[in-house]
């Protein structure tokens, strides 16, 4: 009757995801909970078996709760369900999908459930919302919590009625006895109660095949607030007496402040703060804050900095050697690549590069900070509220307990909002002004003073036999990262190394991160090998691929795309790319049209075949895949940060091109619903096939092989 619970998937945050955050251990007292939440039932999700044992498992009658809690659910004696999770919402729609999971297991209508997310005072510690972790972890844990609450409620009803709990049914926030036709709602069962339950990981769950609410396309739970403009994003937050803050920026990266004259700014009525290299002002209006900053006379000392034209040489020459293969996964070696290369029929060596790109979240970084004595509260848009709390505690040398970070659902992140720059700036100014201060970055600041997706250089060397069997694979990635660096093709001899380098720009996480670069290099190289051997690229991949889930998406995508059809015009080209990332499987097929005269490249059609286990919300999943394709298209074709001697040259939307309506191809999505497999995330994986599919299609159309992302920032030059 119960679905098999998958083993906890081990998770290590990948390179560039983290910059801070020691694990915080909660001290919880059940009496505090009920004082805050009111009477009812509290179910907490406990990480790991040992801690649950420690607490005695089952229903807790003591006053302390286990410490390693990552979510909890409260059902009030008014029937209201409140779920607390440290995950945050920024457009990936987890507020809805997590609500669905709870509704499914608890048998409560969606509108009775409220999710409290990303508030360091109210929600349990969470490392952050990144790495496509919410669906495989938090979704599962909330389902368990909700299932446990449901069973407890059934137990209460059974005890009241002296009935067998196995004969009772939970539905629509009620427990019903079908035989006697008795029925009692959850609220009545919990009247005046203060029950707690800590649940370990083994409770039975409803199998995906029997899902009623999960697995369906439920609309965004608070969608109405967004189409009416009512929702308050971080940059919309406001407090009485609030000032607007603005920070003085250096003329280039790495510049140090020699001297500063802030007299004029002060005369304008602004609060001015100088603290080391930090100079900022706070004023009653944003306009006055901007004029005050402009009135500051500052002298900076700049150091020579690298420029984008020298980027790839710079990355290569500043590389450290790969670490020991037994180390942290940065290096992998099997068989003998050198011998296999010597014994192969055909060898290929190529270099691929990717540029720095910007996240361009449409809402730039924003924070509102307020001090009450030595206690600090900050509302800010971040993917890591607990990480930002740590950064604030460190910056102001105060204990984390004195800092509260709240994250109102924010205007996107894509991996770009892991850090707390505006939170620290607003808090520093608020401390000096003794009033709340809001800092909202301009688009230029967001382009310049945030961080970028790492640029990278990838060298690939391969050997194949005449029949299309790959025998040797050597892969060196300089700087862009090791996500997706390993090959899923069956190759007996491999040497795969990630090389750390000095980065000329501040770099960090990004949606799909290094998996985009690594798949671009690998899947382009696969196409090059297939072409060299005059083999069909699909057949060549399948010949070297055993992974059934990946084979399935390649085959499903090829069917939908009509792979193998002949071209209808000379500028037309077809290509594919795919892979495995964040536990999901994607195959992407692209059709391009190249105007040989003008050099214009149009992506006409993209077919994505995607499999991420049991599907939680099909429409939202399609939405994520469509979005990944469109965002991926920007990085594939034209997005790149240009910089020179410590300055960003194109840090404005009029100079940095992002995909717009007219760039969008026909998008056709094939979903493979594997109800027998655990649900995993989908916000990142679908992106990785886009660039190689387009690159391979451009080659198919023109015979030109493009090995650098972005491929055609200024159109395709005639060869």
């Amino acid at each position: 009757m119960s679905a098999k619970v998958p083993d906890q998937i081990s998770f290590e945050p990948e390179r560039y995801e983290l910059g801070a955050a020691p694990v915080y251990r909660f001290d919880l007292d059940r009496r505090d909970f009920f004082k805050f939440l009111g009477a009812g039932l509290l179910v907490v999700s406990v990480l790991g078996h040992a801690e649950a044992q420690e607490s005695g498992g089952g229903r807790s009658r003591g006053d302390s709760l286990p410490k390693e809690i990552n979510a909890w659910l409260h059902i009030g004696d008014d029937g209201k369900v409140t779920v607390y999770t440290g995950k945050v919402e920024m457009g990936q729609n987890i507020r809805t999908s997590l609500t669905q999971a709870v509704a499914e297991e608890l048998h409560v209508p969606i509108h009775q459930i409220e999710l409290v997310m990303g508030d360091t005072q109210l929600t349990p510690f969470d490392m952050g919302t990144f790495g496509s972790r919410t669906t495989p972890t938090m979704n599962l844990q909330l389902r368990k919590v909700a299932a446990s609450a449901r069973d407890l409620l059934i137990g209460l009803a059974a005890a009241q009625w002296h009935a067998d709990p196995d004969h009772l049914i939970a539905a629509d926030a009620k427990v019903t006895d079908p035989q006697s036709k008795r029925s009692v709602d959850y609220a009545a069962l919990l009247k005046g109660q203060q029950l707690t339950q800590a649940i370990p990981a083994e409770d039975p769950l409803i199998p995906a095949a029997n899902w009623q609410v999960a697995g369906r396309s439920v609309h965004k739970v608070d969608g109405r607030d967004f189409v009416t403009g009512k929702h308050r994003y971080p940059s919309d937050q406001k407090l009485p007496d609030m000032l607007h803050g603005k920070v003085l920026r250096p003329p280039s990266f790495g510049a140090t402040l020699l001297s500063v004259d802030t007299q004029k700014a002060e005369q304008m009525g602004a609060v001015v703060v100088r603290d080391g290299n930090f100079v900022g002002v706070a004023a009653p209006t944003a306009a006055l804050a901007s004029s005050a900053v402009a009135a500051i006379q500052a002298e900076w000392k700049s150091e020579p900095q690298p420029s984008s034209k020298d980027l790839f040489d710079y990355l290569r020459s500043d590389a450290t050697q790969g670490k020991d293969p037994s180390g942290d996964g940065d290096s992998f070696e099997v068989g003998s690549v050198d011998k296999a290369l010597a014994g192969s029929d055909h060898r290929l060596q190529q270099t691929y590069t990717v540029s720095y790109i910007a996240h361009v979240p449409l809402e730039p970084r924003a924070a509102l900070a307020k001090w009450d004595g030595d206690r600090l509260t900050v509302w800010t848009g971040t993917q890591r509220p607990f990480g930002v709390r740590g950064q604030l505690a460190e910056a102001f040398r105060i204990p984390e307990e004195k800092v509260r970070v709240l994250m109102p659902d924010t205007g996107s992140g894509y991996g770009g909002k892991h850090t707390g720059e505006t939170a620290i700036e607003a808090a520093r100014l608020a401390r000096a002004a003794k009033r709340p201060v809001k800092v909202v970055w301009t688009r230029e600041e967001e382009f310049t003073w945030a961080y970028f997706r790492p640029a990278g250089v990838i060298d690939v060397k391969s050997g194949v036999l005449a029949d299309g069997t790959i025998t040797a694979w050597e892969f060196h990635n300089y700087n862009s990262g090791s996500a997706g660096i390993r090959t899923y093709y069956e190759i007996p001899n491999q040497r795969i190394i990630f090389h750390e380098t000095k980065s000329p720009l501040r770099q960090g996480s990004y949606r799909a991160l290094a998996a985009t670069a690594n798949h671009f290099a690998r899947e382009s190289h696969m196409d090059e090998l297939a072409r060299a051997l005059k083999l069909d690229p699909l057949e060549f991949r399948l010949r070297n691929l055993k992974n059934e889930r990946l084979r399935a998406v390649f085959q499903a995508g090829a069917r939908q795309f009509g792979w193998g059809a002949s071209k209808s015009s000379p500028g037309q080209g077809f290509g594919m790319g795919g892979g495995y990332e964040k536990l999901g499987n994607i195959a992407t097929f692209a059709e391009v049209n190249v105007d040989r005269k003008s050099g214009e490249v149009r992506v006409v059609r993209v077919v994505s075949a995607f499999e991420c286990g049991a599907i939680v919300n099909p429409d939202n999943l399609r939405n994520q895949i469509e979005g990944s394709n469109i965002q991926g298209l920007g990085g594939a074709l034209f997005e790149a940060i240009e910089f020179e001697n410590g300055r960003i040259l194109n840090g404005k939307l009029s100079r940095y091109r992002v995909p717009r309506f007219s760039d969008v191809p026909v998008l056709d999505t094939v979903l493979l619903d594997r109800k027998d497999l655990p649900s995993v995330g989908a916000g990142e994986c679908p992106m990785i096939g886009v660039a190689p599919a387009i690159a391979n299609a451009i080659f198919d159309a023109t015979g030109q092989r493009l090995r650098s992302l972005p491929m055609v920032p200024n159109g395709l030059k005639a060869s």
């Binding site: 920024m90 457009g91 990936q92 729609n93 396309s217 609309h219 965004k220 969608g223 109405r224 967004f226 189409v227 009416t228 403009g229 009512k230 929702h231 308050r232 994003y233 940059s235 919309d236 406001k238 607007h244 209006t285 944003a286 306009a287 361009v360 979240p361 449409l362 809402e363 730039p364 659902d409 924010t410 205007g411 996107s412 894509y414 909202v440 301009t442 688009r443 429409d619 939202n620 939405n623 994520q624 469509e626 979005g627 990944s628 394709n629 469109i630 965002q631 404005k652 939307l653 009029s654 992002v658 995909p659 717009r660 309506f661 007219s662 969008v664 998008l667």
Partner: protein, 164 residues
């Protein structure tokens, strides 16, 4: 600072603001109408779009002093009480959003389009909406939502006609 008289969502306002301020700043900071968003400050992304005398305009590059007596409609002003505007309803129905930060601007641009072209083709929609950015990439859904809104509005017009 000067007192500026504005008509927003059918209400008269007297705002004490710098005439050089952008309309967006006045809406957001002075009147707390935060549905219109800042995205770029150079009229490139459309998140700040409002209607000025029925036409879509980027409020971030519109100086408030130039607005005068013109009628401004913001995202807060297009629903009729609890009854959403057909474009708002269509965005909800088609799930034409992810983070939704662009949504107000998209909806206001779409309303503007549908007043001058009641049955736009896909190409006409793409052409008109080109100045609005959705970084999450929900463009195909937005196009569908606008087409759906056009049908909703046509139906309601037909309904009204039949009732007369």
């Amino acid at each position: 600072m000067a007192v500026i008289h504005l008509s927003i969502n059918g209400h008269p306002y007297a705002v004490d603001a710098d005439p050089q301020s952008s309309l967006l700043t006045v809406l957001r900071d002075h009147l707390d109408l935060t549905g219109s968003k800042y995205g770029c400050g150079e009229g490139q992304c459309g998140a700040c779009t409002v209607l000025v005398d029925g036409k879509a305009q980027r409020s971030c590059i519109t100086r408030v002093a130039t607005v005068g007596e013109k009628k401004i409609i913001t995202i807060e002003g297009i629903a009729a009480g609890d009854q959403l505007h057909p474009v708002q309803q269509a965005f909800l129905d088609e799930e034409a959003m992810q983070c939704a930060y662009c949504t107000s601007g998209m909806i206001m641009s779409a309303v503007s389009l549908l007043t001058v072209n009641r049955h736009p083709t896909r190409d006409e929609i793409v052409d008109f909406m080109e100045g609005n950015i959705c970084r999450c990439g929900t463009y195909p859904r937005i196009v569908t939502a606008i087409q759906k809104a056009a049908s909703l509005m046509a139906e309601s017009q037909a309904g009204k006609g039949a009732g007369q």
